[in-house]
């Protein structure tokens, strides 16, 4: 009996140690990755990075054109993806909460949410780049929009579902039409959560490389022409990191640091907006 008890205690202790080790292991990677990013990227961080164009090999330069390019592409993606996502989420939470259509859309949307982003790149290549005959900023923006939509749909639906029905009933009882109830009352009640959804979507797309590789391609020079290839931070990092030139590689690290800081800032802001215990 005592021996058996001791064995059970031992396996419990082993499991506890393993659980601690696993947690340390998981957190260790975060520290290691952020640490080497700071170590490698911080030294290259200077004013030049934000004011100069990407250099040819062997020269000094910055990341101004890819940073601006990324901002433009992100803006297009949010401008296209957010309205569609919010409207679709509104239908699912308000009009068709118990519809068959809603459950199908929810299922498909969840799959789109984790579908490989490179496939989205191929899709946009097929429907935009190939017919137009050239790579373009528009194609890159639309490819990113395809990634924005499922994130926004998901959070909009979740947040509108959390709005208490009493609010809708009160609005209806004073004669407010359904559409106004939704846009004036429900949207206002769910605003913080919906903004979080958009922030998370921006965080998701700001590091996306795969869908841009063959849609917006890359551009060595300053360009804001959306009908031509346009530079973006992730694609430049990809190109520079795999190059044999030391100064290109160090610019890639700096770019990587900038993206990571932006993404972390976005996701922490998003978390702060939603009170704890209400995240989906």
């Amino acid at each position: 009996m005592a021996a058996r008890y001791a064995r059970r205690r031992r396996s419990n202790a082993t499991a506890t140690v393993l659980a601690l080790a696993a947690t340390a292991f998981g957190l260790g990677w975060l520290v290691l990755i952020l640490g080497s990013l700071l170590w490698q990227g911080f030294s290259g961080l200077s004013l030049e990075v934000f004011t100069q164009m990407t250099p040819p090999p062997g020269a000094s330069g910055g990341l101004l054109n890819p940073i601006v390019g990324s901002l433009i592409l992100t803006f297009i993606a949010v401008a296209i993806g957010t309205p569609i996502g919010i409207l679709a989420g509104t239908y699912m939470a308000e009009y068709g909460r118990y519809d068959r259509l809603t459950s199908v859309v929810r299922f498909i949307n969840d799959i789109l949410l984790s579908a490989p982003s490179i496939v989205v790149g191929l899709f946009i290549y097929e429907v935009m780049v190939a017919p137009m005959g050239h790579f373009s900023g528009w194609a890159g923006g639309v490819a990113l929009a395809v990634l924005v939509i499922p994130v926004v749909v998901r959070t909009t639906e979740d947040m509108l579902t959390l709005v208490p029905n009493a609010l809708r009933e009160a609005a209806t009882s004073i004669g407010l039409p359904r559409s106004l109830t939704i846009t004036r009352i429900c949207y206002r009640a769910a605003r913080a959560g919906m903004v979080t959804g958009v922030l998370l979507a921006v965080a998701r797309i700001s590091g996306e490389t795969a869908p841009l590789l063959f849609t917006s391609l890359n551009n060595q020079f300053w360009s804001t022409n959306l009908n031509a290839p346009i530079a973006s931070l992730p694609v430049v990092i990809f190109q520079f990191a795999l190059s044999p030139y030391k100064d290109w590689q160090s610019l890639a690290w700096t770019g990587a640091l900038i993206i990571t800081l932006a993404v972390l800032a976005l996701s922490i802001t998003a978390r702060a907006l939603v009170p704890s215990g209400r995240q989906s």
């Binding site: 205690r9 396996s11 419990n12 082993t14 499991a15 506890t16 393993l18 659980a19 601690l20 696993a22 947690t23 998981g26 975060l30 990755i33 080497s36 990013l37 490698q40 409207l87 679709a88 509104t90 239908y91 699912m92 009009y95 259509l101 809603t102 859309v105 299922f107 498909i108 969840d110 984790s114 579908a115 490989p116 982003s117 490179i118 496939v119 191929l122 899709f123 290549y125 097929e126 429907v127 395809v146 749909v153 039409p177 359904r178 559409s179 939704i182 490389t209 795969a210 992730p234 990809f238 990191a241 795999l242 690290w253 990587a256 993206i259 990571t260 993404v263 972390l264 996701s267 978390r271």
Partner: protein, 338 residues
């Protein structure tokens, strides 16, 4: 005076009636406009919901359309052919499929036990005030863009493996009779194993956070009953929590697997891009996504492009099946929790 007064009363009444009539007309107009707006908004939202469906349909149709030339030329042999020769226009998907499956398998082999143990720690052992910070830290791992994993893997992780883990594996497991071929060859640093390990780190947060959520959803009474008859913490998790949360955990694992299969940039950096199947996990290989990312913009000729799109279609079909299964299982457990 009287008639005039009476008239004025009539005038007032008439005027009033006209006002009422005018008001009724404007009210009807306003109501009508509101009704129109209501219907329009309803249809607009419905159209957006349908657009999400069309998006998926569009992806599937465009991929099938783009891959037709390749499948017409090679038939289903495309799936099992090992050749990949752009010069002779001869393409087969097997090395890429093999690399995708093996790297994801290595990733899950590590991420599943580690993720479950972290979930165990977070739900049962961790002091409450530490739960949220650690949970958020693990989820930040999921927020780091994949290209960051790629650049880190290429410049930091691969050289580290080349100097430590890989020679160690060659010296130890490389001499064990049956599994020796798995660890044959020189330590390149980059290769299948490195890609699998990086994928493991990337998938870890998915497995962890979903396992934690389903562990937390286990009714307290069940756990208390187990503690009440004298179970240790580990026994409660092993014999009560895990069986109860089984479907949800499997759903989380499948979701992570879906991510690992489709992951592109992190793998592209460290896989080595070799279109061949080697027994050794230390050798360079390729995956579907890495092949597309590396070769698509340089692909010359319709057949080459079409073969790459066909690879994309295969990847999409595989991940679709895995993700659909994951969602189905998670939906089942959500329904049970209610």
């Amino acid at each position: 005076m009287e008639p005039a007064g009476r008239r004025s009363v009539v005038d007032v009444a008439l005027q009033h009636r006209m006002l009422v009539a005018a008001e009724a007309v404007t009210r009807a107009k306003v109501l009508n406009r509101l009704r129109l707006g209501d219907t329009a908004f309803r249809h607009l939202t419905r159209a957006a919901a349908v657009a999400v469906l069309l998006l998926l349909g569009g992806v599937i149709i465009s991929l099938i359309d783009g891959s037709l030339p390749a499948f017409r030329r090679f038939g289903l042999g495309f799936l099992v052919s090992e050749r990949w020769n752009p010069v002779t226009d001869n393409f087969g998907a097997l090395p890429a499929i093999y690399g995708t499956v093996v790297t994801s398998f290595i990733a899950m082999l590590i991420a599943v036990p580690v993720g479950l143990m972290i979930a165990f720690f977070l739900t049962e052992l961790c002091p409450p005030w530490l739960r949220r910070p650690i949970g958020i830290a693990i989820e930040l791992l999921a927020g780091i863009p994949s290209i960051i994993y790629g650049i880190w893997g290429l410049f930091v992780f691969a050289p580290f493996l080349q100097g430590t883990l890989q020679p160690f594996l060659i010296d130890t497991l490389g001499n064990v009779p049956l599994i020796a071929p798995l660890f044959a060859g020189p330590p390149y640093g980059i290769g299948i194993l490195t890609a699998g390990l990086i994928l493991a780190i990337m998938v870890l947060p998915f497995v962890t956070s979903i396992s934690r959520d389903v562990f937390e959803a286990v009714p307290g009474v069940l756990k208390e009953a187990a503690y009440g008859i004298g179970c240790t913490t580990w026994e409660v998790v092993r014999y009560v929590v895990l069986p109860y949360a089984r479907i949800g955990v499997i759903g989380g694992i499948m979701l992570g697997l879906g991510r690992a299969l489709g992951e592109t940039m992190a793998v592209t950096f460290v896989i080595g891009n070799a279109h061949r199947i080697s027994a050794s996990v230390l050798a360079p290989g390729t995956t579907i996504s890495a092949t597309i990312a590396n070769e698509f913009t340089e692909a010359v000729g319709d057949l080459y492009t079409s073969s790459l799109i066909a690879l994309g279609l295969i990847l999409f079909v595989i991940t679709f099946i895995v993700l659909a299964a994951a969602r189905y299982m998670l939906m089942r457990i959500e329904r049970r929790i209610g």
